[in-house]
Symmetry: C2
Subunit: 596 residues, 2 copies
């Protein structure tokens, strides 16, 4: 089954919820009109639907393979990557100064969603390359930017992020890879990096590895980590490729999903040392990574939306085709397609509501990033940057957690056929299962949300978001129809639960950090449920106020929003209780290791 990008839904969110028109009014984004956005999305939809989606199952059956240190991508991937590169897609959101298209993140985001929905394994290569480009633009010298970024944007080269080592996963303080200065401004790097996505492959002529390592005299912990460029092939002054560098793929992992994406173990310096170039200042590597990581984490959140939508589309297609059992209300004498059964509707409604809510929050987050980078007023930029930074762990954590539930429901809709690999539903679940783990687990996102994003500013941004939700509640109050009343009732309760949770975190973080951090993931989920519910409420208002759009589209938006209100938002209460009932080292926090 192929994939059809939901361009109409995407444009609705971009225009009605994320403020595409405002974004297009920002300096530098004058070309990002609705018309342009539609043209870009249509073209992206074509590439993803026709070229990349058909390769998705193939990548699962015939993963990337390693032989003699070289990784060969799944047949067809190399050619597809050429098409992707030639179409200029890698440069979509990168600056025109380096041959990018300079489009808003708000326009790039739906394209990234499509890419991931079509073929998550494939999409990871551009996703990591985006990360490398961001890192170089953030911290690289002008010479480094000129040398590497245009080649990454053109797709001639790809990029990787090398953080993890066997003993250093979530905890980068434990990084051991060494960088020895050579006296000529270069370094020789020695160490092992694991879980390197597309760390070795044959889709492009060179790979630019960005690597965290320690100088010999560096302080312990995260304050002693520096960032290095280590190209697979050395790059001459004129940009042509030179000798092979001393970085080698020694194995690739056998994984639950995203099998076409090679996850490499890279060995640096086994033959004298890999030549590396320092990026930015010594010992500031983690800081640069954090700036870049917001972009990568956001993109992983979009992967969650993408896989959820792909699973939804597949489940709907099956539910419209599979005939089984008579309707429970006796409205037909013979068996009907299962989409007529209330429980199947409930499953599809859950999948759809979660996906639409997560998409809306992600696109709104992208718009905050655009304003944060392009608004002429520095104070406005700072405000939006702060909101963007609050929302990134929510988008990353919540969209990826729900992707597991949605893809699992996708299997369930298929019944026994869902368990058979040929059906394709199970692949989405297997692929989705990595999302809440890589680029920082949900717990890491939640720690970030509690620590850096809520406590550090005394809850200022969180409170601002709560005030914005209140405004939407006021708008709902002006309408008396049941759809609006139901949304107002449940969003009000959700808003109250989120406010209570934030108060609890602010009040207890110092005196009872264990209790607060035991509730960090429930807090992230609560924020996700309520803030996505807020977007669903805004969608409800938008869909009911515009008479020009087609009625079927709008009534579906209204029904989905109400479903979200009655089936998703009520979970907020349970999360509030989880968060606020933790006190000190009691309960399971108090058990000894032996009691587990």
């Amino acid at each position: 089954m192929s994939y059809t990008a939901p361009v109409k839904d995407m444009l609705f969110v971009m225009k009605e919820l994320a403020g595409l028109d405002e974004i297009a009014a920002l300096p530098g984004f004058e070309d990002a009109t609705e018309e342009t956005a539609r043209a870009v999305l249509d073209e992206s939809a074509r590439l993803c639907g026709e070229v990349l989606a058909p390769l998705n199952a193939e990548g699962d059956k015939n993963p990337s393979s390693l032989k003699d240190g070289m990784v060969t991508a799944t047949p067809g991937f190399r050619e597809a990557f050429q098409q992707y590169a030639e179409g200029g897609w890698q440069g979509l959101q990168h600056p025109a100064d380096y041959d990018g298209q300079g489009l808003p993140k708000l326009v790039a985001t739906p394209c990234i969603e499509m890419l991931n929905a079509a073929n998550t394994s494939f999409a990871l290569c551009p996703l990591l390359t985006d990360g490398a480009i961001e890192a170089l633009l953030t911290a690289g010298s002008e010479e480094q930017k000129q040398r590497y970024v245009p080649k990454l944007i053109s797709g001639q080269w790809t990029g990787t992020m090398n953080l993890t080592e066997p003993q250093a996963g979530s905890d980068l303080a434990l990084v051991r890879t060494r960088a020895e200065p050579q006296g000529d401004g270069t370094y020789r790097i020695f160490g092992t990096k694991i879980f390197i996505t597309w760390g070795e492959h044959d889709m492009a002529e060179n790979i630019v590895h960005l690597v965290l390592a320690r100088l010999p005299d560096a302080p312990d912990g995260v304050k002693g980590i520096s960032l290095f460029i280590i190209p697979k092939f050395m790059v001459d002054q004129d940009g042509s490729l030179g000798a092979r560098n001393d970085v080698h793929c020694v194995s690739i992992e056998h994984k639950l999903g995203i099998k076409a994406s090679p996850t490499a173990v890279l060995q640096f310096g086994d033959h004298g040392g890999a030549i590396g170039y320092l990026v930015g200042e010594v010992n500031c590597g983690l800081e640069y990574m954090f700036i870049m990581m917001n972009a990568t984490r956001f993109a992983v959140g979009v992967q969650g939306v993408a896989l959820a939508d792909r699973a939804y589309q597949r489940a709907v297609a099956y539910a419209k085709e599979r005939v089984q059992s008579r309707p429970v209300d006796g409205s037909a004498k013979a068996a009907v397609t299962i989409i007529h059964h209330p429980d199947v509707r409930r499953m599809l409604g859950t999948m759809r509501a979660l996906t639409e809510g997560a998409r809306a929050l992600a696109y709104v987050t992208a718009a905050h990033s655009d304003i944060a980078h392009h608004h002429p007023d520095a104070a406005v930029r700072a405000d939006h940057q702060a909101v963007y930074e609050y929302l990134v762990p929510v988008v990353k954590g919540w969209s990826t957690e729900l992707a597991i539930d949605v893809t699992s429901l996708g299997v369930q809709v298929h019944g026994g056929m869902g368990y058979i690999e040929e059906t394709g539903a199970a692949q989405h679940l297997r692929d989705a299962r990595i999302l809440p783990i890589y680029e920082g687990t949900t717990a890491i996102q939640a720690n970030d949300l509690v620590g850096r994003k809520t406590l550090r500013d005394g809850g200022a941004v969180a409170t601002r978001l709560l005030a914005a939700v209140s405004q939407t509640l006021d708008a709902l109050a002006a309408r008396e129809e049941p759809d609006f009343e139901s949304m107002r009732e449940h969003l009000t309760k959700g808003h109250r639960s989120l406010a209570t949770a934030i108060d609890f975190i602010l009040a207890n973080a110092k005196r009872d950090p264990n209790a607060v951090f035991a509730g960090s993931v429930p807090y992230l989920k609560l924020a996700g449920i309520v803030l996505c519910g807020w977007q669903m409420a805004r969608a409800l208002l938008a869909a009911s106020s515009d008479e020009t759009r087609d009625a079927a589209f709008c009534s579906a938006k209204i029904a989905t929003a109400r479903f979200y209100a009655e089936h998703i938002l009520p979970q907020a209460t349970a999360l509030e209780i989880s968060i606020t009932s933790a006190k000190g080292m009691q309960g399971v926090l108090a058990l000894s290791e032996e009691q587990f």
Copy 2:
């Protein structure tokens, strides 16, 4: 990593919650003392831990394979099955009259849990054989029982259940397999059955297929289905094996999990007709299946408990070993094992609380079955049978749904290593994903719970269970410590939500069946959460009242119960809202097919 059966936990539940002493006092169960139970569990734990658990990963890597119509089990399985058979384990809960051990279901259930925790794929062969034995004991002639049951109990032969056909999954009304009477009392069977677990293999010398088929003059729908015995090899008068019957395995499925368990497509009658023997009366096949299905569905619920526990054990072992990051409360200067981090505790607490609650409800359900079969008073038997029948879809549906969440959390605790197949955590998730599908999807369980188990008796059994929960609430009220207060608060709310849901279902089933059935799965989950919470409350009371047991064991039980109260029970409110907010064909029920 191996598996250690939690014998102490199991005995606690058997004795304190499921009333082992009362069961041992029933006629015919005099031998089932605590001492015997302990000895049986210890011996079962040894077999499962030493023989079957080590084969689990092997079965995943080297699934059963098909060649020339013959299936070869994973290396080691055949020998392990010999040990299982020779130990008499297949006969544990079957009558001594047919060479079984005649032990209570309450004693057999922990052994079945162990078997499934050790090796789910392997355990499916005995599980389906149990089903075949039950079906024959229920509906077979004395001659059929004598001929087949002792061989099934001894493990010389195994059994299968053949219900599903390509067009007939949840909807058995659509079964097309034909049975043509031969005039000599036998039938010739023609048709295709799919998803037949252990439908062909080399672990035993014969396979007894129980097959649903239609006679030529049978009425349409479920009232025209008869049940047949179709042995793989014909059985002579003296019990020796004769000619090969005309049933052949034409393919086995490529599945997400339980890979060592061959899922066969069986072709009946391609070479003249498979010889079959009618079981019981013509056209009563589905009725017999339903009697037997309660047993099989219950066993699948136990599989959910089993896989949840296995995933929990693996996650705990990893969390005690993996060093990463300093504690959030600053209590150590260096990185610690991750079991010290509050979020990891929350994940392990969730896994543990869900698993213990589900185990308790399953064992209590087994005890009801024992009383229903062995109590001298017919009225008492009928009462317990009714409670058993109410609880079976709850145990099946809820334990299997939570098994997905628990095994998925097990992956999450492992971080990136969880996604690597060699770690073993991902296999449990893949294996668990079939549980809410086979032997009736969660929706089918929920329809059963709403229709046959709640509406048919006007909510009588449901109300009786609510009254029993109230008694436990009274016992909690007598205690003033915070653990008891917290449990009372949350169980009271859960009890109220369940009562509200039952009232809603009773009031609306006739006038608004779509609304009621849209809430059927939420109702099943609500019943699961509240009734397991009731068992956790009973465990809390038992653990706090017994001074003789060791303190560490009891304080862990108390902490886990409180965790359940504060983190699981609060979900009841959201489910109540999901159920009661549905009205008529509104919202996603009202959308046209095209709107999806």
